[in-house]
């Protein structure tokens, strides 16, 4: 009897952990069914009214659009740059080792601090960026004062912080690839572009896709960089879903409504993750066949 129960006791930590994760999530979900706010601490059940309101607001669709633009833009640029940097570092091993150490510096800075640093550097009149651009006649750029500029600046800061992450993953991938196919290609006189397109990229793709998944998920949930850089402005031009949720739940104290935003975001991230992970599986199988 004791022996039979032992396996169940072994899963107790996992069970507790699962409850620890599910409890706040379930509670949050439960709260979205009420009109709970600071001005209504004993709220009425409104069922799905909060979600209906979320989906019928123009501000939600604007935030959803900005969030997607940001996530796709940041993940795409980081992937391309990260792979490019990894390829460069892989070719020149001694210099690469030194550069690798420098490369991870942005990753060691908290994103919110990085955003504050960049906010100062992008300041039009005293920022170093405009100071450096002044000799070429571009010293008056209002980096975060226009809607497009603010979004691009936010993406640029994200790229500055996280490109090294993609580069390191890609570099690890490059170093784990078998050497024989490349040696054979070299013997056959294959050009660099051909080798890259036909050999390197297909075999490297699973590593790149892992980086894409991480970066895309994280970019969908971005808060710190944008909040520190633009607070969601000017206007609503960088008002991503996380900031909208924060403002609703914390600043304006409409708790249920704010949580509804985060639940919607969670559903989007969950779906995107499912699709990408499934795709990753297929890619990994193909890459294994290529090896």
């Amino acid at each position: 009897m004791r022996l039979a129960l032992r396996p169940y006791f072994l899963i107790v930590p996992a069970l507790l952990l699962t409850c620890g994760i599910l409890y706040p999530f379930g509670l949050g979900l439960y709260y979205t069914l009420f009109d709970f706010s600071a001005s209504k601490p004993q709220p009425d059940m409104v069922r799905f009214e909060n979600y209906r309101t979320v989906f019928t607001q123009d501000s939600f669709w604007n935030s959803a659009w900005v969030t997607v633009l940001y996530a796709v833009g940041a993940a795409a640029v980081e992937t391309v740059l990260g792979v490019a940097v990894a390829l460069l570092l892989h070719r020149s091993s001694r210099v690469g080792r030194v550069l690798e150490k420098i490369l991870i510096l942005p990753l060691m800075i908290a994103p919110v601090i990085a955003a504050i640093i960049w906010k100062l550097m992008l300041q039009p009149s005293v920022g170093v960026v405009n100071h450096l651009l002044r000799p070429v006649g571009l010293g008056g750029v209002q980096w975060t004062d226009t809607p497009t500029g603010a979004l691009l600046s936010s993406i640029a800061v994200d790229v500055w912080v996280y490109t090294p992450f993609v580069a390191i993953l890609a570099l690890a991938g490059l170093r784990s690839l078998p050497t024989s196919p490349f040696e054979a290609a070299a013997v056959d006189g294959a050009r660099w572009w051909y080798t890259f397109r036909r050999l390197t990229l297909p075999m490297l793709w699973p590593y790149v896709l892992v980086a894409v998944i991480f970066r895309f998920m994280d970019s969908l949930k971005v808060f710190d960089i944008i909040y520190a850089l633009t607070e969601g402005g000017p206007g609503d031009s960088t008002m991503v879903l996380q900031i909208r949720a924060y403002l609703e739940a914390i600043r304006f104290q409409r708790y249920s409504f704010g949580i509804s935003y985060t639940i919607v975001l969670w559903a989007v991230v969950y779906l995107a993750a499912m699709i990408l992970v499934r795709h990753l599986g297929k890619i990994q199988r193909k890459a294994a066949e290529a090896k």
């Binding site: 129960l5 169940y8 509670l27 004993q42 009149s125 004062d145 402005g233 609503d236």
Partner: protein, 473 residues
């Protein structure tokens, strides 16, 4: 085998029950609100003759915002402990995070802090959920409040600003006293006397003149030896704080309102033709003569630009200019003068204000000691010392404003006392009290940014009004 299956079923049932327990308890626990509030005030428990030493040995925990007024308070805390035997522990947070910290702390329902700094606008947010102690019963109880505290010595408009009935749209000055005025700011124009002298300029008396002046300074000051100087520093970040200083002051001087009130119904009025025209003019002024990167400007940047001789004028809190004007504080110190700012049509000098107030947590377990602290911090002695020996200016008490030592200290700042005395009686909160104040003003700031960015004022403000009508009305 049977036994095993039976055990597994029992285990699964037990596991399900355990997993469901928190959810069920959450349902049962409701939403963190509790019903232990009674109608009677804890002030009623204080009887006998007034005694500063009543709570000797107690410790009061305070949450404070980083501010020169706070520095003055902290520097004088020893005097409070000597007078009462009460120790004060405090945390100080920068303004960017301060109100989030306070909001989260109060909404948690815990008594982490007994007393805290807040603005009068926060009463509209923190009052309705019952987070703030009504200080009225404490003020009226002669056993709890010493005669020398002298309520009549406060500027009445300041005391009224922290008093509200908790009903949307109801005027201030009625209902509970949810905080006490401790330090305040009136919104006026401060200007660099050097650039005005060199360009032969005079402070603007109308809004039109102000807009013109801002443009002239931006155009001509750099050529006159003021490298990189622009016309006028005003706030522009996507925050409620952008609306309440210069913008709301000029808006009110033009006879405009944020909402119209009919009974308990509030109707947004930011989209009347007059309000649209004014907002367009304000955004135009910022574009023509305002700071670069205006959309990130908070009072810190506005104030430091005036001090660094980057801004010719500042339309903001008088204190924001004062902190730059005091001797040795900035390159512009000694060259900053004060002016009430442009008048509205008909000569209106209606001015919006900000009050740093002190409040008490309704959940505090040390209310008697906390009240002694609030009484001391808003009392004549401490405020006089803070005004004279520190930078706690813009006195909330008439006796301090009239004090000869205080006047001597402020006299060397050109126009400061005259400006203060001109606007003090016309300074009040120009917003309509309502719980959605922060949402409304943050959205208003976002709308202002969009208009500054080139969108049509009419459509943006109509959109804002439509959005707010559903939330506020």
């Amino acid at each position: 085998m049977d036994t095993h299956a039976h055990d597994r079923r029992r285990f699964l049932a037990l596991g399900a029950a355990l997993a469901a327990a928190p959810v069920l308890s959450a349902c049962g626990a409701g939403f963190g609100g509790d019903d232990d509030r009674s109608d009677g005030s804890a002030a009623d428990d204080v009887t006998g003759s007034f005694d500063w030493k009543r709570e000797k040995g107690a410790t009061v925990k305070a949450l404070l915002n980083k501010h020169p007024y706070t520095d003055a308070l902290i520097a004088d805390l020893k005097a409070f402990t000597e007078q009462t035997g009460i120790k004060v522990e405090y945390d100080v947070f920068p303004e960017d995070n301060y109100f989030d910290k306070l909001t989260v702390d109060l909404s948690s329902g815990r008594a982490s802090y007994d007393v805290f700094m807040l603005g009068a606008y926060m009463v509209w947010q923190y009052g309705p959920p019952g987070w703030l102690e009504d200080l009225g019963p404490w003020m009226r109880n002669s056993s709890a409040t010493g005669a020398e505290w002298d309520q009549a010595d406060f500027f009445p408009n300041l005391l009224q600003a922290d008093q509200w009935s908790l009903k949307a749209g109801a005027p201030l000055g009625q209902g509970g006293q949810y905080a006490l005025p401790w330090g305040w700011e009136t919104n006026v124009v401060a200007y660099n006397t050097e650039v005005f002298k060199k360009l032969g300029l005079q402070p603007a008396e109308t809004f039109e003149e102000l807009r013109e002046l801002a443009g002239v300074i931006k155009d001509k000051a750099p050529g006159a030896g003021f490298d990189g100087m622009y016309g006028i520093a005003v706030r522009g970040s996507r925050s409620w704080a952008t609306i309440h200083p210069g913008f709301m002051t000029m808006y009110a001087r033009n006879g405009l309102h944020d909402f119209t009130v009919s009974g308990e119904k509030l109707t947004p009025a930011m989209n009347t033709p007059e309000a649209i025209a004014f907002t367009e003019d304000w955004a135009g002024m910022v574009k023509r003569g305002g700071p670069p990167s205006w959309t990130s400007y908070t009072w810190y940047q506005c104030s430091s630009d005036l001090g660094a001789k980057k801004a010719g004028m500042l339309f903001d809190a008088d204190t924001a200019a004062y902190f730059q004007a005091v001797e040795g504080a900035s390159p512009a110190s000694g060259k900053i003068a004060f002016h009430p700012g442009p008048k509205g049509p008909g000569g209106s000098l209606a001015t919006n204000m900000w009050i740093w107030s002190l409040g008490m947590n309704a959940k505090s377990r040390k209310k008697s000691a906390s009240w002694l602290f609030l009484q001391w911090a808003t009392g004549k002695e401490h405020l006089r010392r803070s005004a004279i020996t520190h930078n706690h200016i813009d006195p909330v008490r008439k006796s301090v404003a009239a004090d000869a030592a205080y006047k001597d200290k402020m006299r060397h700042l050109p126009g400061f006392i005259e400006t203060f005395e001109t606007v003090v009686d016309q300074t009040k909160i120009q917003f309509t009290p309502q719980a959605q104040f922060f949402d409304a003003t943050t959205s208003w700031a976002a709308a202002l940014q969009e208009i500054y960015g080139g969108k049509g004022a009419k459509s943006v403000l109509n959109g804002l009004a439509g959005d707010l009508a559903g939330k506020v009305g």
